[in-house]
Symmetry: C2
Subunit: 235 residues, 2 copies
């Protein structure tokens, strides 16, 4: 049974959308839809030198966001057991108002806050690595399976999606009524991201045809790519 | 007089690229080129509730990165006078290796760390707002000039670009020699972002033709859009 978006509430005050509160979305399926569409997460950790934000690949299973890195990964080690923030943004357009004060961007974003935990148990770690690998395209099953050494050298962290919220801006600029009658142009310049045809590695020695999961991407927007799950998970 | 990239060094240890150190770039012009190409910054601040990362519009003048928001902007108020981190990422492709362990993304990113300061002096504030407004396309001069109220309601912050570094990954996957001889596909799926034709606001009452700075964007990649500066600033 779903709560209508209009009355869904944030999981905690710290993931409540403050500016443009009407654009906040707190349904879990709104969060998952944006996580499905996104390509990288910007992950913030607190370090003795101040906050640090780095772009990272990610995957999710509807309940956790998964991140990975090399064993020595500075950011993942700083973040282990600590509060982190992972933000995923899809930029959709430049919103041009009559006055710069009302200019904006159209976008879909998700903010997840919580304590990230290392995953050490091998089956869970492999399942998480498959989710990260397959997030953009399902390529895990057509690749060489990971060796024990690969597995040992890789750090995987799980961030619960419990405290997450989405924010979406779309459509036209919203100008002051007096400005609407003025001579200034207003509208939106869409910004569109698409996958292009796969390029074969220069050192490829075998079959140059990419796996089906990659061949089908060309021309797609990220939000159009086939998903691993049939529908949104409702934990 | 320029230092060759190969021997340029990070401004401070905290902006040194640690993982994939050979991909770190410390020339100021490398940083500016990526800031020019980027669309939004992911800005991280430390809050009593842990780190918070939000996507924000930005501009720069070669010496400072500028951010703006409403007077009540939570993130900007948390960040005032404090250490913050602004990260700009352009995603260029999915790098598909023979094994998931060597999968990667092609991207260009910049990390800026430092203490952000409010700009209160009106001429500097207006100059910064013009840089933010004109970052994606030069639309400040064709819009209604900001009123005193607009100006009063807007918070502008400057983050010095002194402590910044770039990281760039491009090209093919790098696999283990033994894997290169295997049957697995390897290559890159390019990810391409472009501006589309401007869409006129439904409430537009005047001339539907967008200003020249917007009409010329259609079909361009972000890195192809005309720049305000003739060349990189070398502070």
């Amino acid at each position: 049974m779903e709560t209508p978006s209009a009355i869904a509430t944030p999981a905690s005050p710290r993931v409540q959308v403050r500016r443009g509160a009407a654009r906040g979305k707190y349904q879990h399926r709104d969060v998952l839809q944006i996580l499905d569409a996104g390509l990288v997460a910007h992950v913030g950790v607190t370090t003795p030198d101040g906050p640090l934000v780095l772009p990272m690949a990610y995957g999710h299973d509807g309940a956790y966001l998964y991140l990975h890195g090399a064993l020595a990964n500075h950011l993942l080690n700083e973040g282990a057991g600590q509060e982190i923030c992972a933000t995923v943004t899809c930029v959709d357009g430049l919103v041009v108002a009559r006055t710069p004060f009302h200019n904006s961007m159209n976008y879909r974003s998700v903010v997840v806050r919580g304590a990230a935990q290392h995953i050490t148990e091998t089956p869970h770690k492999l399942a998480a690595l498959k989710l990260i690998t397959d997030h953009i395209a399902a390529i895990w099953d057509s690749a060489r399976p990971p060796s024990q050494t690969d597995n040992r050298k890789t750090l995987v962290m799980a961030l619960p999606l419990t405290e997450s919220s989405a924010k979406v801006r779309d459509g036209d600029p919203i100008d002051e009524p007096a400005d609407v009658e003025g001579p200034w142009w207003a509208g939106v310049v869409p910004i569109v991201t698409r996958f292009a045809e796969p390029l074969v590695a220069a050192d490829l020695q075998g079959n140059p045809n990419p796996p089906a999961s990659l061949a089908g991407l060309a021309g797609c927007r990220p939000e159009e790519r086939p998903r691993l799950r049939d529908g949104p998970v409702e934990p």
